[in-house]
């Protein structure tokens, strides 16, 4: 039996606005397993980030979160704010896209990492210093004794993201949520941060939830993949199943639109890139039936009438599509 740390069952997050209910996340289920990586891909506005914030219960009060989040048999959604605070950071850590916005500019990075530890445990200042130095060393920051007295603005983008990772991992969480952790970084630094995450994951046996819009990055890093569209899961499975043999037309088109770029092809003039025509529908005016119907080349009558539900193709691979059903 695999060691499942977090069981997400039918997670639904809605925002109630003047114009009606927006279902930002609608019926997402998955489990996070120690030592494994789950990759979440999708375009902007598909609910990736709202989903990760729902897991941490970091959304404002007008967001209504339903479903179950079982962490060691406790439903996180039923915990009081005080109980949740003990989970947040201590058990589930999170890193964000823009490290400069997530770090406090008026405290040194040593102070901020120390704070992350002190929130959860009482330790002497000597032990604390030792732990800060150790974690900075682990995330690959040279001369941590000097660096811990630096302020965020004195560091480069890559270093700041390393500090963010250090902060998230300092209280030794079991789960790490990484929401587009490398989007703001240059490609060589991106590769360094990915390698660091992989290394730390093996070291600490972390369950990693990796959210990105970069398909290539997910295919490199993730064991399992979740493809999201308008707040719903449209395809879910092992990385080699989903990317090697995609079944849902949206995943197929997404892969096709980047596939040519990944070939070392030298025909001139260049063939046209495959595109997905149209754009993502407005969450307030979703079509009846399948949400992808307007952009789908396989659209049938049934797709316009009935919304597809996730169905299993194999023990691990699931899609929400009426095609070949």
């Amino acid at each position: 039996m695999l060691d499942s740390l977090l069981e997400v069952q039918n997670l639904r997050t809605s925002f109630f606005t003047g114009k009606g209910e927006i279902r930002a996340v609608d019926g997402v289920s998955f489990s996070l397993i120690a030592g494994k990586t789950l990759g979440v891909v999708g375009e902007s506005g598909c609910g990736k980030s709202v989903m990760s914030l729902s897991l941490m219960r970091l959304l404002p009060d007008q967001a209504v979160i339903r479903g179950h989040l079982f962490y060691r048999k406790n439903d996180l959604l039923k915990l009081s704010p005080t109980q949740m605070r003990r989970i947040r950071g201590r058990e589930i850590g999170m890193i964000f896209q823009d490290p400069m916005a997530a770090l406090n500019p008026v405290f040194t990075i040593g102070d901020q990492i120390g704070e992350a530890i002190l929130v959860h445990e009482k330790v002497s200042s000597r032990v604390l210093r030792g732990r800060i130095l150790e974690i900075l060393h682990q995330v690959g920051i040279a001369s941590p004794e000097k660096r811990m007295h630096d302020y965020p603005h004195q560091l480069s983008g890559g270093m700041r993201q390393r500090v963010m990772i250090a902060m998230a991992l300092a209280p030794e969480p079991k789960i790490l949520i990484a929401d587009e952790p490398t989007t703001a970084l240059d490609v060589t630094i991106q590769a360094q941060i990915l390698d660091l995450l992989k290394y730390l994951q093996t070291q600490r046996h972390l369950a990693l939830l990796f959210i990105t819009h970069d398909i290539a990055m997910v295919s490199e890093l993730a064991d399992e993949v979740l493809v999201m569209y308008t707040g719903r899961v449209v395809e879910q499975g092992l990385t080699r199943e989903v990317f090697g043999n995609p079944k849902m037309p949206y995943t197929q088109s997404l892969l096709k639109s980047v596939a040519f770029l990944h070939e070392q092809a030298w025909e001139f003039p260049r063939p046209k890139l495959e595109v997905i025509e149209g754009s993502v529908p407005d969450l307030l005016a979703l079509p009846k039936g399948c949400h992808f119907q307007e952009r789908c080349v396989h659209c049938m009558l049934r797709c316009q009438q009935q919304e597809p539900v996730l169905r299993a193709l194999s023990a691990t691979h699931r899609i929400a599509c009426w095609k070949d059903c």
């Binding site: 490609v187 060589t188 630094i189 590769a191 290539a216 490199e220 990944h262 070392q264 260049r270 595109v275």
Partner: protein, 316 residues
């Protein structure tokens, strides 16, 4: 004759490292020499802060070089006054990264589209302008309903199409595209890239394509320039560069690209130096796996080889 020719361009800005320190001259571009032939797409790659955007703005004279000369169609434009530049502006336009930021939120699409026409063709009648606009919209794959909308009512892809249509309104020959798709989703990126390609075919445009997405550059460019901290380190045809990268920095860039198929061969590199504190000799030597003592003292010059590609490295 090349459309754009840069000769030994150098650009410095007066900058302060921090609020309290004295300002000093910071060299952001040094000894840039390159040519763009009509009809080609020159890709420009490099990490953030290496001077890509500054170079793009110099080429269409949005900023003035500190030294060196810029030729546009053989005419020296390096220090032309803005009055003399105005007729030339019609021939060179720019598309920016964030389409939302380059459209005035108080103007609807019709007003936005009229603006370049009012400036550059004030003699045209309203009917002529309207006809022109509807032609431009259809060229860029937009429907005429969009004219009454404001930028916030358009999607990211639509906004970028409007920016392209605006740039095309004055019949430019040369377009500087500074990260034109990096703010867009993957599925929309492909749409815009296809649009830019078909416009190039129908209108005979010449592009400078600035991007950090090496795969898009490979697809879109005919020739590629790689920059590192204000200098050109390699310049070659796209096929030569991607099949046989020679500069260690170019190789590092390629090794770091995430890939759908093969695993990357990771090269251990530190972080780029700050432009306030440039390394001596070759700027890349602190991160270079091949660096020798010579690299710390002597900056390598761009050498041209028989195949026409250029590389600035003592050992490549």
């Amino acid at each position: 004759m090349p459309l754009v020719r840069l000769e030994n361009i150098q650009k410095s800005f007066e900058m302060k490292k921090s609020f309290f320190s004295k300002s000093k001259q910071v060299e952001v571009l040094s000894a840039i020499t390159l040519q763009i032939q009509p009809g080609e797409t020159l890709g420009l790659v490099g990490e953030s802060g290496c001077g890509k955007s500054t170079l793009g703005k110099l080429m269409i004279r949005l900023i003035e070089p500190t030294s060196g000369r810029i030729f546009f169609k053989g005419q020296d434009v390096s220090h032309l006054s803005s009055r003399l530049l105005r007729p030339l502006r019609k021939q060179m336009q720019m598309i920016f990264q964030a389409p939302g930021a380059s459209l005035n939120p108080h103007m609807n699409v019709e007003a936005l589209m009229c603006e370049p026409l009012n400036i550059h063709q004030p003699e045209a009648s309203i009917e002529e302008k309207k006809e022109k606009i509807s032609h431009l919209l259809s060229l860029c794959g937009l429907r005429s309903e969009i004219l009454s909308r404001y930028p916030h009512q358009c999607s990211g892809g639509q906004k970028q199409r409007i920016c392209i249509a605006r740039a095309l309104a004055v019949h430019p020959e040369f377009l500087v595209c500074d990260e034109p798709v990096s703010a867009l989703d993957v599925s929309i990126q492909a749409q815009i890239i296809n649009l830019m390609r078909s416009l190039q075919d129908t209108l005979g445009l010449t592009y400078l394509f600035i991007s950090h997405n090496l795969r898009l550059v490979q697809y879109f460019s005919t020739r590629v320039v790689v920059m590192y901290l204000g200098r050109i380190v390699e310049q070659a045809s796209v096929q030569q560069l991607y099949q046989n990268p020679r500069h260690p920095y170019t190789r590092a860039l390629f090794a770091a690209m995430p890939s759908l198929s093969q695993r990357k061969k990771y090269l251990p590199l530190g972080e780029p130096a700050s432009i306030f504190d440039l390394p001596s000799g070759c700027h890349f030597h602190p991160r270079c796996p091949m660096a020798q003592s010579r690299c710390q003292v002597e900056a390598p010059l761009l050498r041209k080889d028989s195949s026409g590609s250029e590389v600035a490295c003592h050992y490549a």
